[in-house]
Symmetry: C2
Subunit: 232 residues, 2 copies
């Protein structure tokens, strides 16, 4: 196993507070694995055997049903996914698929549960992590239930704009169909939503978006920190 990334993993909030021994134990059964793009890592309904950490690349969390499929979240380095299923020793509620060539750290679920038994600091970090994740989903649900498609897009753009330095441009890190699924709409509707935003100073050229009048956009978006602010 390549160890040069271990410090990065160790630095995650989830692992930072735990003791050196606990961390060593945890990494005992863990391993890195590379995956090509568009690989299904897990399928909803599978039993939770591993906790995943995205070290490089990008992973899409997907929900299926009703002959449809929607994107719940997109995970970027360095973050974990399907923690809740692992902790409950339950079945995954979401599938995961790589969006790009990715490198993942896979930690056996059993190791996680054992570490929790032994290391209270780790357990507490887990509580913080889960509470944050919970709040994240609540925000998604609020966005979905309280906003129109155009509003969701506008707010997503404003958040991305801030993340990327608020210099008047946004570069999409994912393709538009994935963005559409994430925002809960069809690709066609996303395209039209971008069209609507043209009236608010948005120019789209492939994956490059220009926000020429952010304040106009904010007027439309009616951003709400209780939906849009990232958990700290």
């Amino acid at each position: 196993m390549r160890t040069e990334d271990l410090p990065t993993v160790r630095a995650l909030d989830l692992f930072a507070a735990m003791s050196d021994e606990s961390f060593a134990d945890l990494m005992q059964g863990a391993f890195f694995q590379r995956f090509p793009p568009q690989v299904m890592l897990i399928e909803e309904g599978d039993t939770a055997d591993f906790l995943y950490v995205v070290v490089e690349g990008m992973v899409e969390m997907i929900a299926q049903g009703n002959e449809r499929e929607t994107t719940i979240a997109v995970m970027e380095p360095v973050s974990t996914f399907i923690l809740a299923a692992v902790l409950r020793d339950a079945v995954y509620l979401m599938s995961a698929r790589t969006l790009e060539r990715s490198r993942l750290l896979m930690i056996p679920a059993e190791s996680i549960r054992e570490a929790m038994e032994r290391d209270p600091a780790f357990t507490r970090a887990m509580v913080r992590e889960l509470a944050g994740a919970f709040r994240g989903v609540i925000k998604s649900l609020k966005s979905q239930k309280l906003r129109s498609a155009v509003e969701r897009l506008a707010n997503w753009l404003l958040v991305a704009h801030d993340d990327q330095g608020a210099n008047g441009t946004v570069t999409l890190g994912i393709d538009k169909r994935t963005l559409a699924a994430l925002l809960g709409m069809t690709p066609e509707n996303l395209s039209r939503a971008f069209g609507t935003l043209r009236g608010y100073g948005i120019e789209v050229a492939g994956r490059e978006i220009v926000l020429s009048r952010p304040d106009d956009l904010r007027g439309l978006a009616k951003s709400n920190p209780l939906i849009d602010d990232r958990e700290t």
Copy 2:
């Protein structure tokens, strides 16, 4: 403080595993309080001062924004709410309002955080609780993004039917406007959705619903355990 309900609280998964001392400490600063119906207990944006336990009555969790309001969940005895905000020492993401005359146990947020520092068994119970809550919201989000309004209602009815003994009838514990908000639709649309379900053996008389052909309903609902099953 009335102590006759403490055993009930103690029996909750969240509190069952903790030590007697920890529990005593936790209850030290806690108190019961009665509220009339339709009282706003907390408003989203407030800082999290208390963890609430619904001991009697019913409480609605609400999200606001965009001059709208939607119901995220309805809490019944005996369960806790706004745990995540308390743990993160953050601001509430949801408001809470009593639906009926209710009695709540209020535990100071600080006590919860202290108990977590001292009692690892409590912290682990917290992890389980939060993981379960997380999975619950994911299910709501899936339902919202993958199903139509009629399908959401059909599945909600089937779950309620099971909960109430699967004897062919369901009694609504909440009024229809609240149910509509919970399912993410308008009251008018809920009314029409019930109308549609008449074709599947559903008869509605006030709060009494008869499911004369549950299998028909199941055919329409296309239930999915990964959305509809309760966390154990």
